[in-house]
């Protein structure tokens, strides 16, 4: 398997984890607005998981399956920790998609992966910003999402 394929699979793996993670942290949030945000984020990740899985299958790859459990998301035991886990999920997704972008940008034969990787990187960065705002963090943005 090529480095690009490894990165693609890793990006899909973060989408599996995000879908699972929002299911765990969502109920810990203490406002309807934040719970709605969690549902929207979960839906977005599920959609990306499905489209990525389909794209991999169409390309003749075997998409990585979801794990049975993701222990790290159980750190969300309260509203504040749930917010931190949400940010962490999005930061991880941004990093995985940026890594795929970097790999695809160095392999002309995989050029078509760059646009979806850019879109996914940007979406994860925006969601992370929404969660930082929700958490009342002083700095809601980072200069280099995914890095």
């Amino acid at each position: 398997m090529s480095a690009v394929d490894d990165a693609w699979q890793a990006a899909l793996a973060t989408e599996h984890e995000a879908v699972f993670g929002y299911g765990v942290l969502g109920p810990r949030l203490n406002s309807g607005e934040l719970r709605s945000l969690a549902r929207a984020c979960q839906d977005a990740h599920a959609s990306l998981r499905d489209s990525t899985t389909a794209a991999m299958a169409a390309a003749g790859r075997t998409p990585v399956a979801a794990q049975a459990d993701y222990p790290s998301v159980y750190a969300a035991t309260s509203a504040p920790t749930a917010l931190r886990v949400a940010v962490a999920l999005e930061v991880a997704a941004a990093a995985a998609w940026r890594y795929l972008y970097a790999q695809a940008a160095s392999d002309p034969s995989r050029e078509t992966l760059r646009a979806p990787a850019q879109a996914a990187l940007t979406s994860a960065a925006v969601r992370a910003t929404r969660w930082r705002v929700g958490a009342g963090e002083g700095s809601a943005t980072v200069p280099f999402p995914g890095i």
């Binding site: 940026r98 972008y101 970097a102 940008a105 160095s106 994860a124 925006v126 705002v133 890095i147």
Partner: protein, 180 residues
């Protein structure tokens, strides 16, 4: 009343490849440069052996990609725009200080990336005219446009330069989100 938004690329052209806009730094210049170097190196992580090529000493100087130079000009123009807005409306200081700091990191990273190709840091040039202050909504739109342009430039580049601009594009979209 609808206001015409300045075209960041045109503003960038006026700024040429340079012209730090006079904004005060939230962190020291040295810190920004170190962070920028880290970002450039990290942007290239996993992009193959070619990633280290431009940093090899003794390599003949090359011309940097036009998209990288244009991105640097656009970032400097954005900083100038934000500074003008901050000067006109202090109520935006809390929000815009962080946004401006992000752009300063972008400038520093792009200077490092270009310097790694040319063998010397890009020479700043003076701005021809001061940018006008924008409303919060106008700045949000400007950041969104900047994000789109950065993503388009990233798509025309390869390797670590592409990955760096892809990340900058994502950041600028978060600015649009924050200001909207």
């Amino acid at each position: 009343m609808a206001h015409a938004l300045p075209d960041p690329d045109r503003v960038a052209e006026r700024h040429g490849a340079g012209g730090r806009s006079g904004g005060s730094f939230r962190v020291g210049r040295r810190g920004v440069l170190l962070a920028a170097l880290g970002a450039v190196l990290a942007a290239g992580a996993g992009t193959g052996a070619g990633f280290l090529r431009p940093l090899r000493p003794g390599r003949p100087a090359q011309q940097p990609p036009a998209d990288l130079v244009a991105a640097l000009g656009a970032e400097r123009a954005l900083i100038a725009q934000i500074q003008a807005t901050l000067t006109a409306d202090a109520s935006l200081r809390a929000t815009l200080s962080g946004v401006r700091a992000d752009h300063e990191q972008h400038v520093a990273a792009l200077e490092v990336a270009i310097g790694a190709i040319t063998g010397k840091p890009p020479v700043p040039s003076a701005a021809e005219s001061a940018p006008q202050a924008l409303t919060r909504a106008q700045l949000a739109a400007t950041e969104g446009q900047a994000a789109s342009r950065a993503a388009a430039r990233a798509a025309r580049l390869t390797g670590r330069d592409a990955a760096l601009l892809a990340s900058i594009a994502a950041c600028e979209q978060t600015h649009r989100e924050l200001l909207a």
